[in-house]
Symmetry: C2
Subunit: 408 residues, 2 copies
């Protein structure tokens, strides 16, 4: 039975409960923050890559943006409509980048304006190398020029990839682009995407990143891998130990959501959404918003899970218990609460016991648990509660200590 250090001591200072002396004043984040003041909670939005790959055009982006509103995604908190690779045409005689004329006949600014008119924000994609992953013009040596172009188009978010970068250092290359974005004067969220190769959690914030990919691309699968891309649990496992690098304005990015793309069951997709919320991950949907079934929409717009992801403390969750297929993750929330995920990684049902010691709480404390997928409170309990967790699925809870005098 492997035990991980409970996180709760950090925030329990906010409670009237006694905490070990000294811990209460310990700083939560030790790393430089990007100066742009953006992404104080993890960005939420949609990106074209996971579903549409290179097949992007103006009509598609505007259609998805409208669906983000009509589907209720916008109301649930999703804001950024992000076009990934393949939007680029050639550079003009001054070296300025232009959108592909066939795919974007009115130019990119018209698309940005349409997205803004819906009350949404617009994200774009480029690459630190001479070419993007799909062979379009990259940003190397054009950083200030491209940043100005993006700012003029009204871009609010830049995902910056790492293909074809021969010889560049990630930290240095990303810092150049961050400086260029800053120089435009426009607030632009900066999303680093070196696939975690050079431990970007160590320098991503100092280099001006609001988020940084921690792994290779996600593959729409519970586990396993597919070439360079890796399944959901493989990505999850690589987040362990990175929690203290994240915080408001600077986030670990375990890649985008696959919910609704068909490679996993609904229970597995609920698991991705739950675990990404525990990770304080960017919630970037990657499905076709114009053809979303009710279950997919219910997952992506689960406000209770989203509230965990967007918790303003910005402390990432960590595993506190792992044994066989069973795993328990805990994330401290504002107000002295915690989010909890019981994960069954395996193909057999599991009976899992959640003990208060895993929550960092004294066993006598009465605690109110709430199931975030069934949307109901459980009976107030002490010591521990037992759960049955279906194969390849999660139960997601919040726990709220019941103050003496207010509880029975």
């Amino acid at each position: 039975m492997a035990k991980f250090l409970p996180l709760t001591a950090l925030w329990l200072a906010a409670l009237v409960l006694s905490v070990p002396p000294g811990l209460a004043s310990e700083p939560m984040h030790f790393y430089a923050r990007p100066a742009n003041g953006l992404a104080l909670t993890p960005p939420m939005g949609w990106n074209s890559w996971n579903h549409f790959g290179c097949h992007v055009n103006a009509a598609l982006i505007e259609r998805e943006a409208r669906a983000m509103v009509s589907s209720g995604m916008k109301a649930a908190g999703y804001r950024y409509v992000i076009i990934d690779d393949c939007w680029q045409g050639a550079r003009g005689p001054n070296g300025n980048i232009h959108a592909d004329r066939k795919r974007f006949p009115q130019g990119m600014k018209a698309v940005v304006d349409a997205v803004h008119a819906l009350g949404l924000k617009f994200g774009i994609y480029s690459d630190a190398g001479a070419e993007t992953c799909q062979g379009r013009p990259g940003g190397r040596g054009h950083e200030y020029q491209d940043a100005l172009t993006y700012a003029r188009w009204g871009v609010d978010y830049l995902k910056y990839d790492w293909c074809n970068t021969g010889g560049e250092r990630p930290r240095t290359a990303y810092a150049t682009m961050a400086d260029a974005l800053r120089a435009t004067g426009r607030p632009i969220v900066f999303s680093l995407c070196d696939w975690g190769v050079r431990a970007p959690w160590r320098w991503g914030a100092a280099a001006g990143g609001n988020l940084w990919r921690t792994t290779p691309d996600i593959w729409d699968s519970w586990s396993g891998h597919h070439g360079f891309a890796i399944g959901m649990l493989n990505i999850l496992d690589r987040q362990v130990g990175l929690a203290h690098y994240a915080g408001p304005g600077h986030w670990n990015d375990p890649d985008m959501l696959e919910i609704g793309n068909g490679g996993m069951t609904q229970a597995q997709y609920r698991a991705q959404f739950s675990l990404w919320a525990m990770l304080a991950a960017p919630l970037i949907a990657g499905n076709d918003l114009t053809h979303m079934d009710a279950q997919t929409r219910a997952i992506l717009t689960n406000r209770e899970v989203i509230a965990v992801d967007q918790d303003r403390l910005g402390i990432e969750g960590q595993p506190v218990y792992r044994h066989g297929a069973a795993e328990i993750w805990v994330r401290p929330l504002t107000g002295g609460r915690e989010a909890v995920v019981l994960l069954n990684r395996g193909t057999q049902p599991l009976s899992m016991r959640l003990t208060w010691s895993e929550l960092g709480l004294p066993s006598y404390l009465p605690v109110q648990l709430r199931d975030l997928w069934r949307h109901r409170d459980l009976p107030v309990a002490t010591h521990a509660v037992r759960f049955h967790v279906a194969p390849t699925s999660v139960i997601m809870l919040t726990e709220t200590p019941v103050r003496p005098g207010h509880s029975g």
Copy 2:
């Protein structure tokens, strides 16, 4: 008596004399060349830094350009009028670089046009970092934009410095700028200036450089150092072992000439000019061409020494003998000839014996020596010749084997 491997075997294949089998077909240069086809002999010109430092303006540059013609420098082969740091004003709203308006009231293109009108070429300066050494705007992240600006102004040569580059890799940063220059379509000589810190001789040509500095800045002195800058002999010593990295289109750069700037004697300046010619070094004068005394002009326009520097084989000389203050350098030339420098580094007169074995020649061979500073042939000799070399000075010779049947 330390002996260095004579170079002569490489080119003696061109002679009727017998050479060790195998050596004749050995390739002379093993390193990638820049693709721009420029600088097939070492660039010759003038640069503002050594004499004027930061005090540059349009009138000064145009005056020096006219003096390059009227002084006979142009007729002797000098072509590039290069403005060093401090020409820059701020960047415009599109990020384009502009010349300082006070110093260049008509803009930089007017200066370039004036230089071109004299039949000369124009060189400019920038830096791979965010700022130049003197705190002007640097090229980092603006590479393509700046290259286009230079091309539009008609720039023929770019010296690219290494200040304020935090985190960049020299090879990568210089390759980005080389790509940007290439993309303009204008032939622009590319001069790398990382001060030799990262062994640019190993990658300078592959990164697109036509020349690369091998050392810190030169200090106008026979030896010693002055902060970061080092005296002439200290620079010379650091060239040993680098010869095989240089060749047509890609040159080691031991920094610019100090001749006429007053820190050395005329004999010492003759030594710099002689040794730089042995090194196939760029000959970039650094004095005030408008106030040149007859001796300075005689040194800088010595056509026989310049012919050694500009020899089209492009093989750099190396020391073949060093003992105490005495040093002998030999450089293979086209047509089976060699240039020779006898260097007295010390403050006492030296008697030095030049033996044919140092020249890689059989001792019985009759050889015609010519003194390149006295401009006269010496009597045809065999075996060896003895010279008296004054303190801190050189004797510079060419040797031409006298073919059997043509000699006495």
